[in-house]
């Protein structure tokens, strides 16, 4: 069960490796999630067409594209959240560490592939209980373990110093940016191997956005990050790789630099230069 990523995650006291050590271009990245010919349907509407993609371990992968292009749908397929919706169907192959994602128990998938949503969704509980929730539903009862994990997760989410004196206050007392970082901390508490973020900054001001971006940049040493964003500058700033979606198809997927500076497809160029539509 202990994959390399999870080992890194538990050695939290280690300083993060210098960024040149894991340079995305030079090193041969390990494939964490692999989709092959993935189709997805809402009823009779096909939302994803033949998506094939390798998502590299310990990298930030960004998906951009206009609204309704399927990028969020694809994100939600990767932790099987779409299964909660009625009348949906998925075809094709999706592998996590080369293991068929659809043969893994769905609650295990969601523990291993965490998710942060567009609108922060803290539970109506205290800050502490929000972060502890994932541990508790996964059967961890020991108080000392939970307390340690809560502190560690809040520190990783760069929220600890702001909330350490009010852990037992309701989470709704936090600001919007703090709430979103709380949701990230909550997702990190179960030590996911992959963290999916669905437009996590779309409701935040620039300062809160910057904080989250810095945070994600540091987190990629611990986990694989996939982020959906409408903000192209954000993708350019953050991501190692960027994929462009249009009308349910993955048009182009490459190094972020290449996508923004020298895309090979006309549609990508139109979109990143703002000529789209």
């Amino acid at each position: 069960m202990a994959t390399p990523q999870r080992q890194v995650l538990s050695e939290s006291t280690m300083p993060p490796p210098a960024s040149d050590v894991i340079d995305p271009v030079k090193t041969h990245a390990v494939c964490k999630l692999k989709a092959t010919s993935l189709n997805f349907y809402y009823g009779s509407f096909q939302a994803l067409h033949d998506i094939s993609i390798d998502i590299s371990s310990n990298k930030i992968t960004a998906f951009i594209g206009p609204s309704g292009c399927g990028k969020s749908t694809f994100l939600r397929t990767m932790n099987r959240m779409n299964e909660a919706l009625r009348n949906t169907r998925v075809e094709g192959d999706l592998r996590l560490d080369n293991e068929d994602l659809f043969s893994i128990n769905v609650t295990d998938v969601r523990r291993r592939v965490g998710m942060v949503f567009q609108k922060s969704n803290p539970f109506p509980k205290t800050i502490f209980d929000n972060v502890a929730y994932g541990l508790r539903v996964n059967g961890i009862r020991k108080k000392s373990v939970i307390e340690g994990a809560v502190e560690k997760s809040l520190q990783r989410a760069a929220l600890w110093s702001e909330v350490k004196d009010k852990l037992h206050k309701p989470a709704s007392a936090l600001s919007g940016g703090q709430q979103q970082r709380l949701c990230i901390a909550r997702a990190l508490a179960v030590e996911p191997e992959v963290l999916l973020l669905d437009e996590p900054c779309s409701a935040l001001d620039p300062i809160a956005t910057l904080k989250i971006e810095e945070l994600l940049f540091q987190l990629k040493t611990l986990t694989t990050i996939v982020i959906v964003t409408h903000n192209m500058q954000q993708a350019a700033r953050l991501a190692d790789y960027t994929g462009f979606f249009l009308l349910g198809k993955l048009i182009e997927f490459d190094d972020t630099k290449k996508i923004f500076q020298n895309p090979s497809k006309k549609e990508t160029e139109d979109y990143v230069t703002g000529r789209f539509g």
């Binding site: 609650t107 295990d108 969601r110 965490g114 803290p122 508790r136 539903v137 179960v190």
Partner: protein, 284 residues
Amino acid sequence: MMMEISARRRVTNAVMLSLSGICTLLVIGVLFFILGYLLWEGARSLNLDFFTKLPKPSGETGGGMANAIVGSGKVLLIATLIGVPIGFLAGVFLAEYSGKMFAFTLRYTVDLLNGVPSIVVGIVAYALVVRPMGHFSALAGGVALGIMMIPIAVRTTEEFLRSVPNSMREGAMALGATKAKTIFTVVVPAAISGLLSGMMLNLARVAGETAPLLFTALGNMFWSHGWLQPIATLPVMIYNYALAPDEDLHQQAWAAGFVLLALVLVINITARLIIARGAAGLRR
């Protein structure tokens, strides 16, 4: 011509306004008359004996309704234990699990059940409990009121659970919680103040029911021990005493009506306070 139309409009407007105004006053007037009369007659007839003494045999004056107050409490407790869990769990199913068609059918059925006259519910409890047991009992009365609580319990639960944003459910499921865990550790706690107050209002609604108790709980002039004996309740006491020829008993009926009203009012206000506090908690 223009002048004529606008004059006619002005008159119509004035007539309609005064008509609806008068009707509103009438409604408020009737309501305050009932409340005031009950307060006046009830409070006047109320004394300490009412809460502490048993009813006196007919012909004697004085006495109280201590047994009926406790009896109402016991019958309502049974009703809550029956109506709330059944209604709550069915409501959870309706809001969280059932498909559209089945939900529609279930909701329609529940609304029909809500419209069943209380006397009919009483007959059902009579057939289900009183006949097999061979005698009237607190249990039978509780079953009757419990059945009456189910529809509102179902719909209240459904409504308050549906008002919990879906993002909460997704957040919990994204952390590896199963559907049942999500419902009972996130969705229900998020709706708890609404659920609690809804159940209290439901209880207040059946607290005054008389017809289904007449031939289930029956009544009792003495203390009723345990749950399987006929038991006195406030509404049935009011009914019996109001029909009696004795002026003293009429006064006691007024007092009982006053106590019942106060009880319902207290439950109502508590429920509203819980709602208000829950709303404030969400805003914080």
